[in-house]
Amino acid sequence: MSMDIFLQNIANSITLGSLYALIAIGYTMVYGILRLINFAHADLLMVASYIAFYGILIFTLPWYIAFAIAIVLTTLLGIGIEKAAYRPLRNAPRISVLISAIGVSFLLENIGIVAIGARPKSFPRPSELVWNIHVGNISFLSLTIIIPTVTLLLLVAVTLMVKKTKIGMAMRAVSRDFETSSLMAVNVNKVITATFAVGSSLAAIGGLMWSMQYPQVDPLMGVFPGLKCFIAAVMGGIGSIPGAMLGGFVLGFCEVMLVGFFPAVSGYRDAFAFVILILILLFRPGGILGENVVEKV
C-alpha cells in the first residue's frame, strides 16, 4: 500500500470514526440513565436526513434552514418517543422496554417505507459545505475536515454540559442511582427528557453529516450505523461519554484499516463490528474505559 492510499485511509477512518462517536453518545447517555438500548436512536438518523432531503428538494429551503428544522423536529421526535413508548414501562421488566424499543424502531422504519418508498434516493449535498481539496497527490472532500471538527466541538460541548451545568449534574446523579436521586428532589422525568433531547439532536446532526458523506438516503439507512454505534458505545464502556468517543474512533479506524489492508475480507466488513462486540463483552464487559459492575441481589 502506497503512502498516499494510507493517508487516504487515515482520513476516511477519522471521518467515519467521528460519525460513529457522535451517534454513540446518544446511546451511551440513554443507556447510562435508563439501562435501555434505544433501538429507535438509529432511525432518528434516517428521520433527520429525510426531513433535510425534503426541505432542500421540495420546499427549496436553504440548507442551513432545512438542517435546523431537521434537528429540531428530530429532537422533538426523540422526546416524544420516550414519553409515549418508554415512560409507561418505567417499572416494567427490562425485556418489555426493550421490546417496546424494537417496536418503535420498526414502526419508524416502516412508516418511512410507506411514506417515502424503499428505494434509496440521492441526498442533495449543499455545495457550500462540500468541495474537493487537493494536497499533493491526495484529494479529499471538505467533509473530511468539517465532520471531525463539528464532532469535536459537539463532544466538548456535551462534556462541558455534563460536567459543569446543573442539568448535567442531575444526569450524572440519575445515572448513578435512579431512586436516591429522585429522593434528593431531582426531577427524574425532566432529566430523562433532557437526555433524550441531547441524544436525539446529536443523532440528527450525525444523520445529516452521514448522508452528506455517503449521499444516499433510504428508510433503513439508520440500521447498520445504529448497531455499529451501539457497539462503539459498548466498546468504550457504556454510560461513559469519553468512552463512546474512544469507541467510535477505534471502531471506525479498525473498519477502514481492515478493508484497506485486507481487501479479500471486505465482504465481512459488517460482521467485523459484531466480532469486536462479542470479544469485548466476553473479555472486558465493562468496555475500555468502563468499570466492571457485578450485579447484586
Binding site: R35, L36, I37, A85, P88, L89, A92, R94, I95, S96, L98, I99, S100, I102, G103, V104, F106, L107, E109, N110, I111, I113, V114, G117, A118, V223, L227, F230, I231, V234, G267, Y268, D270, A271, A273, F274, V275, L277, I278, L281, L282, P285, V297
Partner: protein, 354 residues
C-alpha cells in the same frame, strides 16, 4: 385423580383426532393458496414455540432466531437438492466436491438441519449466554448477522448472495402441521420436566435459582440449544415451502415477526404462541389488501407497500404498552383450564339458581 387423568387423556386423543380430521379436510378441500398459508402458519408456530422456550420460559432475550433458521434452511436445501440442479445453480463458483453428489431424502435432511442449527446454537451460546438482557439481545443479533454474512461470502458452499433454487417442494399439510404438533408436544413435556422447572426458576430470579443449586449456565445452554434446534427445523421447512432460499430472507425482520407472535400469544404460554402464530400469519395475508391500490369514495389510493409492517409494529407496541401479558399470559389452553372454566360456569349457575 386417576380417573380424571384418564378422561383428560381421552379428551387429548379426541382433540388430536379432530385436528387430524380437520387437516385431512383442508388438504382435500382447500386450494393450494390456502394450504400454503396454513403451512406458513405451522412454520411460524414452530418458530414461536422455540422462541417462547428461550424468551418466555427461560427469560433470555435472544434475537438470533433468523440466524439459526438460516443455518437450518441452507443445510436442508444443500442436502436434498439433486446433483443436476446443483450443477446448474452454482454457476458462479462450483460447489465444493464433497457436497456435489449428496442427495438425501427429506426427513433425515430436516433432522440434520435441526441438529446443525443446534450445533450453531451451542457454539453461539457458550460465549453469548454469559451475558444477560440487552447485552444478550445485541450479541445474539450480532451472531445472527454474522451467520448471514458468512453465508453470503462462502460462495462455494452456499452459492452466496444468489441463493439456492429448485429445492424439492413439499405441499403436504401433514408434514408442516405434524412438525408443529410434535414440537408443541415435545416442548410441553419439556417444560413440565425438571429442566422446565429449572428454566422457569432462572427466568423468575436467577440469583435465587443459583442459590437453590440450579446450574444456571447449563440450563440456559440447554434451553438455547433446543430453541436453535427447532428454529433450524422451521428454517428447513421454510425452504421446502417456498423452494428457494437466499441470505436476504433471514434478516432481522424475521426475528421481529417471531417476537410479535411470542409477545402477542403471551410470553410463557406454548398454546398462546400457536394461536397467535396462526392469527398473525392469516393477518399477514389478509392485510395484503391494504398494500394494494384501492379506491375509497372515488379517491384513488396507491398501493402502500410496507403498511402491513406498520400495522404490526403498532400492534406490538399496543400489546407491550397496555396488555403486557398477551392473549394467554402464562396460562395454557389445557384441560385443567377448560374444565376449570366449566366448573366456574356451573357454580355460577348454581349460585343464580339458589
Amino acid at each position: 385423580m386417576d380417573k380424571n387423568k384418564r378422561s383428560k387423556n381421552i379428551l387429548t386423543i379426541m382433540v388430536l383426532i379432530l385436528v387430524c380430521g380437520l387437516l385431512y379436510w383442508s388438504q382435500i378441500n382447500l386450494n393450494s393458496f390456502y394450504i400454503r398459508i396454513l403451512n406458513l402458519a405451522a412454520i411460524f408456530a414452530i418458530l414461536g414455540l422455540s422462541m417462547n422456550l428461550v424468551l418466555g420460559f427461560t427469560g433470555m432475550f435472544s434475537l438470533g432466531h433468523s440466524g439459526f433458521m438460516c443455518v437450518g434452511a441452507y443445510t436442508a436445501a444443500i442436502l436434498t437438492m439433486s446433483p443436476a440442479s446443483k450443477e446448474l445453480i452454482y454457476y458462479m463458483v462450483p460447489i465444493t466436491p464433497a457436497l456435489a453428489q449428496i442427495e438425501w431424502p427429506i426427513f433425515p435432511a430436516i433432522i440434520a438441519a435441526g441438529l446443525m442449527a443446534a450445533l450453531f446454537g451451542l457454539l453461539v451460546g457458550i460465549p453469548a449466554l454469559r451475558l444477560r438482557d440487552d447485552y444478550l439481545a445485541i450479541a445474539t443479533l450480532g451472531f445472527a448477522e454474522i451467520i448471514r454474512i458468512v453465508v453470503t461470502n462462502t460462495v462455494s458452499i452456499t452459492n452466496g448472495s444468489l441463493g439456492l433454487k429448485n429445492i424439492p417442494s413439499i405441499n403436504s399439510i401433514w408434514v408442516y402441521w405434524g412438525a408443529a404438533i410434535l414440537t408443541l408436544l415435545i416442548l410441553k413435556r419439556m417444560i413440565n420436566s425438571s429442566w422446565g422447572y429449572a428454566f422457569r426458576a432462572i427466568r423468575d430470579n436467577e440469583i435465587a435459582a443459583e442459590a437453590m443449586g440450579i446450574s444456571i449456565f447449563k440450563h440456559k445452554l440447554i434451553s438455547f440449544t433446543i430453541g436453535a434446534f427447532f428454529a433450524g427445523i422451521a428454517g428447513a421447512l421454510m425452504g421446502f415451502l417456498i423452494t428457494s432460499v437466499d441470505p436476504t430472507m433471514f434478516r432481522f425482520l424475521f426475528t421481529f415477526q417471531i417476537l410479535l407472535i411470542v409477545v402477542l400469544g403471551g410470553m410463557g404460554s406454548l398454546t398462546g404462541s400457536v394461536i397467535s402464530a396462526v392469527v398473525i400469519t392469516i393477518m399477514m395475508e389478509v392485510l395484503r389488501v391494504v398494500e394494494q391500490p384501492m379506491s375509497i369514495l372515488g379517491l384513488n389510493i396507491p398501493g402502500l407497500s410496507g403498511m402491513r409492517m406498520v400495522i404490526f409494529s403498532v400492534l406490538l407496541l399496543l400489546v407491550i404498552l397496555f396488555y403486557r401479558q398477551g392473549l394467554m399470559g402464562t396460562k395454557e389452553f389445557n384441560w385443567d383450564w377448560v374444565l376449570g372454566k366449566f366448573d366456574q360456569i356451573k357454580s355460577r349457575r348454581r349460585g343464580e339458581a339458589a
